[in-house]
């Protein structure tokens, strides 16, 4: 299947932060969620894809095209939603849309008005009078109205209520149903990832911890718990990360079947959720 986004050894150096050799791919027809703690590099990665900031090294291909050499063509085919939404405050919704529409060859007013109707946004309303949720809905309507093949969204659902997030997820799932379009979105809301992401890329401290098929991820890892009496160095080394308390230990591992053979039912072996995998992989304490 065709790769729609390829990121290869991407780096960006700031005085106090480095995005360090980031690589991942996304196929056409799928949704990728980028997760990670605040300041991990999610927004930097997204800004680099959009060439809003200058990279230090590496390569980005969108639709198989170099994102610097073919920037204009690529952007024509991308729908973008920023986390800090910047439009003309004193213009109406419709006039803001007119400005954006000019940038796109395939802009479709009919589709745009249908989204406004669905989101119950009045096109004559002045932008600054919209609620935060409405502003996001407006931004999403814009991104979806020029037949973009790739949607790139930086925390589109942050600060929004669960009902609205659900609505957005439904619309995005509809958007990729034809199998030709893909979505990359960053978030720190794990439930959004669990509901709609096919692939999960976890960035921590500027590095990729994993970029993996969600089902495979959930199938690969187990949380193993047991008593401190059986815990020695050999056992401890089986774990990616382990935490201990007075009554026992708990660790994340891929080698759970070996452990089960050796220790049997004296261990508790649990399937972790995405959040638990993330916390263990980031080296945190649970």
């Amino acid at each position: 299947m065709e790769t729609i986004l390829e990121i290869d050894n991407l780096s960006k150096e700031y005085a106090d932060f480095k995005l360090d050799n980031v690589s991942f791919n996304l196929k056409r027809g799928y949704i990728m969620g980028i997760i990670g703690p605040n300041g991990a590099g999610k927004t930097t990665t997204i800004k680099l894809i959009m060439n809003l900031i200058k990279r230090s090294s590496g390569e980005i291909k969108v639709f198989g095209l170099d994102n610097l050499k073919k920037e204009k063509e690529i952007k024509n085919r991308i729908g973008f939603v920023y986390s800090d939404i910047n439009f003309y405050e004193n213009f109406s919704v419709n006039n803001n849309a007119k400005i954006i529409a000019n940038f796109y060859d395939n802009w479709n007013w009919e589709i745009f008005y249908a989204y406004l109707e669905r989101f119950k946004i009045n096109k004559n309303q002045i932008f600054k009078d919209l609620s935060k949720g409405m502003k996001v809905k407006f931004a999403i309507s814009l991104a979806l109205s020029h037949d973009a093949e790739l949607l790139i969204m930086d925390e589109p659902t942050s600060g929004l209520d669960p009902i609205f997030r659900h609505e957005v997820i439904n619309i995005l799932q509809e958007y990729i149903e034809d199998g030709n379009r893909s979505i990359v979105f960053s978030t720190h809301i794990i439930s959004d990832i669990e509901k709609m992401a096919d692939y999960i890329t976890f960035i921590n401290k500027g590095k990729i911890v994993f970029s993996e098929d969600k089902i495979k991820l959930l199938d690969t890892y187990r949380i193993v718990k047991g008593g401190l009496d059986i815990l020695d160095d050999t056992l401890e080394n089986v774990f990616i990360n382990i935490t201990k308390n007075k009554y026992g230990f708990s660790g994340l591992t891929t080698n759970y079947s070996k452990l089960y053979e050796k220790y049997g039912s004296s261990l508790v072996i649990d399937k972790p959720n995405i959040e638990e995998i993330m916390i263990y992989m980031a080296g945190g304490n649970i």
């Binding site: 799932q173 149903e177 692939y199």
Partner: protein, 144 residues
Amino acid sequence: MHSYTVKDDEVKILISHSNKQPIYEQISFQIKEQIINGELEAGELLPSIRNLAKELHVSVITTKRAYEELERDGFIHTVPGKGTFVAPQSLKSIEAKKYELLDGDLLNIINKSKVLNISKEELIRRINIIYVEGDRDGNNFRNR
């Protein structure tokens, strides 16, 4: 917890988010059940993985995995450009698959019995009692 339903003429799928079983297994299990008990017949068209994902509000990779398992186990087959269909099942293979569906759950029960020091005879006696009681109460709850 809420669940979602897909009813594409014949197929019926109910997803539970409070269930520990992975969602892709819930989907493949329910389709298997409907093929084995005859609710879904050979040659019937199944929803596309993308439509199923959208309707159930799950990711495409989830429904894709469910269909891959069903295809691997010979329950369905995909004709490129046409869709996914229920594969013809021989009576013999249906019998075998019935027990396959049951064996996983039985193994859990047997393991639990061992941990609780319940003997094989005791377990069988227990099954006999509950089987009859369940019939009498018209109990059709499904415990997965």
